[in-house]
């Protein structure tokens, strides 16, 4: 067990950095449990999300990098998009680099007067000038930081693009070119602090104490990861395998959820991407799977065979939001939109859902060409590229509203019946049933990954209302435990409770299944209370009518039943809150 947690605190206003050694936080292990405590301590619950005092928290866990597929960092903040709990996970090298810098968590508060970036090199932490980087896109800013001297291969680089700089409320943060803290606007919070980027590295030496135990458990897990087919889905086609599966099930959101299936979806399936555009796969540090699928986008810029090329990562959610949702049915069209959001640093899901709403709002004459400047139209890549640029540059009041997110735009212009948001967050790419809708609505960060309702919907069993609510709640509690160790959720079947305990025990952590379950439950409840303090109420949740107009898997869903399920969930949540 650790003697204490090493928490790096950086105050951008005072330009001061300190490392706190906190033995009172040991019981929280890391990830979301640790970050929740730090957020509670630092956040001003009743102040706006972009106030200088608001914190950004990053937390790793004790198993990161040294056990297979434990690769994530948890970030927490007050979300500028929803005004309540912000929580997002990112991979690639960041957790490894935090380990090299010997840090369990990083807390950033304050606001710099001028653009800066933070360079963490072990105990040496510098707040450095970033004026030349400020207006550069993600790709170029990352390149320039990559070209600096340092521990190449053991270093992580985080950057924001024009989205974060211009405070678009769903701006993301890019980690090492291909992974992101995508959801809920962490990029916007960084932009509000005039913080363009972070470079994390170090030379920590960590002698091992329990070599024999560790090696045994490591080998067992490594074998399960590499020798069984438990994770094949993620390495093979990757998450984009879902496009065809959902399309066949009639549960793929198309044209802003107006349809649930169409023949053209096959053109942009995972199979189609893999056969025609995939050039390689890469992995987060410490993951032998390699689920990051990289595609080549080739663009002709002149006659006489003049081409340029770029490489982009793709996943199910990107193909859904920047493909199916907006009716783009060719691979290069989807990749072109992915390229734009990548360079600007915007959350792909939020952008795609917003574009779909704009298109339908225009069709319904809720907004006009005076607002949109361009004519939004399902399937028109070039127009969407221009609209995304306008969202970031905000040339008029309409685009200023769009930069606040879909929910805000509906408050100003209407059209909430077909604005696909739950809890003010744009929804993920599933129309599988009640588990999906309720799950994203009640989930702490309004993400499909909070409680995997979409997955419960796809199980081959009919759940009673009580059973569905119970499953959602239990899954979210369990995921809070996994997220405290920051295990990639793709490996959730490998890391069952017993395996997690064995892994922790092998490196000297005295925990058992009960203590871990309690950690998951306590974190789940702490976050719920924190959300309430920030003004969120489950009772105020609403569901866009479109969910109930378009069939899901050959059946029409009922808004009344969804409301009843929500009431049941609230009842169960209140019970849980009152017991503990």
């Amino acid at each position: 067990m650790k003697k204490y947690m090493r928490i790096l605190k950086i105050d951008l206003t005072k330009k001061k950095t300190t490392v706190e050694k906190r033995d009172d936080l040991n019981q929280y292990l890391g990830g979301v449990a640790l970050a929740t405590q730090l957020l509670k301590q630092e956040v001003a619950v009743d102040q706006p999300a972009l106030e200088a005092i608001q914190p950004i928290i990053f937390a790793k866990g004790p198993l990161n990098t040294i056990f297979p597929v434990v690769t994530k960092v948890c970030s927490m903040f007050k979300s500028p998009l929803t005004g309540e709990l912000g929580e997002s996970y990112g991979g690639l090298r960041m957790a490894m680099a935090m380990g090299m810098a010997n840090l369990d968590a990083i807390v950033i508060v304050g606001q710099s007067k001028e653009p800066v970036y933070i360079h963490i090199d072990g105990d040496e932490v510098k707040i450095k000038d970033a004026k030349p980087l400020w207006n550069l896109n993600i790709d170029e800013a990352t390149r320039l930081l990559h070209d600096q001297e340092g521990h190449r291969g053991l270093r992580s680089i985080l950057t924001i693009g024009e989205g974060g700089v211009n405070k678009v409320k769903f701006a993301s943060v890019t980690i090492d070119s291909y992974r992101h803290f995508g959801r809920l606007g962490l990029g916007c919070v960084m932009g509000s602090k005039n913080l363009k980027a972070m470079v994390i590295e170090g030379e920590t030496n960590k002698p091992m104490e329990h070599l024999k135990d560790y090696k045994k458990v490591y080998s067992e897990i490594y074998e399960k990861v590499t020798e069984t087919d438990m994770m094949e889905k993620y390495h093979g086609l990757g998450t984009s395998i879902n496009i065809n599966l959902l399309n066949d099930l009639k549960s793929l959101p198309i044209h802003n959820f107006k349809r649930n299936s169409c023949d053209e979806a096959r053109n942009i399936s995972g199979e189609s991407f893999a056969e025609n555009r995939l050039i390689k796969k890469i992995a987060c540090s410490g993951c032998p799977i390699g689920c990051i699928h990289i595609a080549l986008l080739r663009k002709q810029f002149g006659e006489s065979y003049e081409y340029e090329a770029t490489t982009l990562s793709y996943d199910h959610e990107l193909i859904y939001s920047l493909g199916a949702m907006v009716g783009i049915w060719d691979l290069d069209g989807v990749l072109q939109l992915i390229e734009v959001v990548e360079l600007l640093g915007l959350d792909a899901i939020s952008t795609g859902v917003l574009l779909a709403w704009v298109t339908e709002a225009f069709e319904k004459n809720i907004v006009t060409i005076k607002d949109t400047i361009e004519t939004p139209e399902f399937g028109n890549v070039d127009t969407y590229k221009k609209i995304i640029q306008y969202i970031v540059k905000k040339p008029n009041a309409f685009y200023e509203a769009l930069a606040e997110g879909t929910d805000y735009a509906t408050q100003k212009y209407g059209g909430e019946d077909f604005a696909m948001v739950l809890g003010k967050n744009e929804v993920a790419g599933y129309h599988t049933g009640y588990g999906n809708i309720l799950g994203q609505a009640v989930g702490a960060r309004h993400s499909h990954l909070d409680n995997a309702g979409y997955s419960i919907d796809q199980e081959n069993e009919e759940n009673s209302d009580e059973a569905l609510v119970k499953k959602l709640m239990e899954e979210e509690i369990s995921r809070n435990m996994l997220n405290s160790l920051v295990i990639c959720l793709f490996a959730r079947k490998i890391y069952d409770d017993a395996t997690v305990v064995k892994a922790l025990n092998s490196i000297g952590y005295e925990v058992n299944e009960d203590t871990l379950k309690k950690l998951g439950l306590d974190t789940f409840l702490e976050k719920m209370r924190l959300k309430e303090d920030m003004g969120f109420k489950l009772q105020n949740l609403t569901f866009p009518n479109r969910f109930f107009e378009t069939e899901s898997c050959d059946r029409r869903l009922s808004s009344e039943k969804t409301e009843d399920l929500l009431k049941l969930y609230i009842k169960e949540a209140e019970k849980l809150l009152s017991y503990t």
């Binding site: 990098t65 040294i66 297979p68 690639l92 490894m96 380990g99 090299m100 790709d139 990352t142 390149r143 990559h146 521990h151 190449r152 291969g153 053991l154 090492d176 070119s177 291909y178 030379e203 920590t204 030496n205 960590k206 002698p207 091992m208 070599l211 560790y214 090696k215 490591y218 490594y222 590499t226 390689k280 796969k281 890469i282 992995a283 987060c284 540090s285 410490g286 993951c287 032998p288 799977i289 390699g290 490489t311």
Partner: protein, 137 residues
């Protein structure tokens, strides 16, 4: 330990950058969780937009690193590369400076070189057949 074989990069294009080889070296050979303590170094050339590269000991005969070592910490190994007696390393970094392949790491905390012992554990751990122990040329 395979005496007449040395570590070789067989299929660099297949590397996904999982760092399993580095973790194996650091934990099994150097008994350390820090990846700085790995004698094999996976990096990107030109960032992730570029390509993966792997810096390994190339197993030179009459290796320049061993020739440069002022103590007997590094001595030539049969089959190529060097034999490393960590306890004799004085931290002068002469081996590091003399290796054009950038294959020798340095642990600034213990003040000792991190040197490939040609044990082949990293190759066994590689999930994508990127590296292997092969007969020296």
């Amino acid at each position: 330990m395979e005496k007449n074989k040395i570590l070789q990069v067989k299929n660099i294009g297949q590397c996904i950058g999982c760092y399993s080889c580095m973790l194996t070296c650091a934990t099994n050979v150097y008994k350390n969780f820090s990846l700085k303590n790995s004698a094999i170094a996976v990096k990107t050339s030109g960032g992730y937009q570029g390509r993966m590269v792997v810096n390994i000991c190339r197993g030179c005969k009459d290796a320049a690193c061993a020739a440069a070592c002022p103590t007997d910490a590094l001595t030539p190994r049969e089959g190529g590369g060097g034999k490393y007696k960590e306890e004799l390393c004085i931290g002068c970094k002469k081996c590091v400076e003399n290796c054009v392949a950038k294959a020798i790491g340095f642990d600034s905390i213990s003040n000792k070189a991190v040197f490939c012992k040609q044990c082949g554990l990293c190759a066994k751990q590689c999930p994508h057949d990127v590296i292997g122990m092969e007969a020296s040329q």
